[in-house]
Assembly symmetry: C2
Amino acid sequence: MSDLHVRAKALDAEDELALKRREFVLDDTVYLDGNSLGALPAHVPDRVADVITRQWGRLRIRSWDESGWWTAPERVGDRIAPLVGAAPGQIVVGDSTSVNVFKALVAAVRLARGDGGGGEADAGRDEIIVDATTFPTDGYIAQSAARLTGCRLTPLTPAEVPAALSPRTAAVLLNHADYRTGRLHDLPGLTAAVHAAGALAVWDLCHTAGALPVGLDEHGVDLAVGCTYKYLNGGPGSPAYIYVREELQDRFDSPLPGWNSHAEPFGMRPEFEAAEGALRGRVGTPDILSMLALEAALDVWDGVSVDAVRAKSLALTDFFLRCVEAYVPQGLVESLTPAAHAERGSQVALRCEGAGDVMKRLIERGVVGDFRAPDVLRFGFTPLYVSFVDAERAARVLAEILEP
Amino acid sequence: MSDLHVRAKALDAEDELALKRREFVLDDTVYLDGNSLGALPAHVPDRVADVITRQWGRLRIRSWDESGWWTAPERVGDRIAPLVGAAPGQIVVGDSTSVNVFKALVAAVRLARGDGGGGEADAGRDEIIVDATTFPTDGYIAQSAARLTGCRLTPLTPAEVPAALSPRTAAVLLNHADYRTGRLHDLPGLTAAVHAAGALAVWDLCHTAGALPVGLDEHGVDLAVGCTYKYLNGGPGSPAYIYVREELQDRFDSPLPGWNSHAEPFGMRPEFEAAEGALRGRVGTPDILSMLALEAALDVWDGVSVDAVRAKSLALTDFFLRCVEAYVPQGLVESLTPAAHAERGSQVALRCEGAGDVMKRLIERGVVGDFRAPDVLRFGFTPLYVSFVDAERAARVLAEILEP
């Protein structure tokens, strides 16, 4: 038994989150793809069965009131809120991340222009800056939002943003962590820079919510979106969320004003009148099965401190990098993930020749990460269920594959 | 036993769809709210349990390929296609009806303008006509689509549309059936009129798909949307769909170009390049639990002819109206639903004093319809599981409540 394996066992023995692993359905696989699809919390199947069999099957239409279906988007939003540093009443769940990026960006441009109605074309602020290293969907949607609001789109790396901000900048869309490299961006500093230029900061939290403290309220973020199927374990394609800062809610002017965001949804009135608060982020009928699966999945967070999650995440990625360095001959892989804790999310990205094939072989040997073209191996570390022994084994199997 | 009750039993005995009822979870309730939330098909809970426990829980990320998650939007779309008269390859499932209305209307305006890129503001067609009697969300979303594309919005009743069409009309959004009165609109005639004016016809099928033949291909409809939780029994808030006519697909320019509508989604390329075909209607990561519940629910349509469904629907609503006329003293209720079959959907709307209170008492007595402000009782007749005995009982209980 190697020294590092012994060390891994010792770290697991000290891990205050170790017992959380039992709340998930896991097997002998080392599952390092929770940054793509979180594992199944063990109690979710029974909860969903109840939603289907009793709430839908027996109560049917009555469940919109009696089972709390109607208010699920804001109720589940309030369950996510403490995980991203938000007070209640600022998050609603629903739609995909892409759709929420669209709502947030168009609304941000309107807010930056002080625009309550039409006439955008004359307004002075006509630029959206988008993180050029972003997950591509954010860039595509930003392009569409720019086109529909008469803005130009400027793709920049996050580091380039502060110098590029100007009185013409309306909104800046940034990823909290780079989906490829795992680099964590400076949310407080970039948000402050955006505000100093009079623009609005929109953050995509897909790769950080549930993995580290975000501090939306504390850092004055204007709008934020995120998915719930990565570190929040909500299930495949579970609904995303949008955060609308309390002070902005009464001027939040959604480009998708569905009946669920109306002040009186069942009034069935021909004129739109926006609801109060974060409800303005709702659109159509909420997707109940997926939303209540997510609500059940969030139970695993009861009693968990995000600071403890962050501490374990950094310890795990540090330890994995140490094992890789010890096991893998020099030059075969190169870490794209910053060594500095302040710049690291909860994944490790290794550049490697033939990465696609290497990942296939890792998966065959029970180590599941994923491949991102052209040459990146991604390993996500979900502190609620990944152990130090997992990290050591992953590095060991990787070394065996690279140098058989 | 009344004559009508005897007649109801005879009609049930002759009903070729009668056995379908056994495929649903039902009880002693007369459930006439399937036009709001369809009943649970009995096999759905086991299918969803498999999706959660095996596909998500055990296969995890591998299910995107191995369990067919990735292709579910188009696969489930092709299951809906024959129910609305569409050849395969023209429907994708995902997002809410409201979001799909937005995609369809903005894309329709762009198609009408022959607009491949920006510069909408100079284009000649600058009007969207919307059904003024529509479910309100369609009107709110149409208002937003108009604002973002520089169009004016003209709300008209469907009957007023032909005379109002002009060379400035870009798109017309119509409901196939009026959600309040149950009136069926003339889809072939109105579509032809819209086309004659050079505009595009967008139809909302929420209240007709699964209840009667729609004939999207046959009648040359350009774009259509619909929900799946009414007559398609997909479950609460199950994902909606969008139909993009084959000839328009290569020019369909979505305002929500998420990564799922990219020609190479996993290429993660910064520039957007639209996929071929109906995939352009996809946006973000599909909502798998809800989508696969819907896919399972669609199994009840195996071997069912939509013509048979329509015949039973008309027989049921005819019979219900006959029972109401026989049981309820004259003047206490007034049918808002057209007597002519060609103008009737699959629901009956009765105007009635104190309708909200009357519906409460109906529900207490086991007859579940719904109330629409200010004075409408709605009764939806789902031919797959509503019987003639149900219809007779509903009318009888209504009479007992109105004249105790």
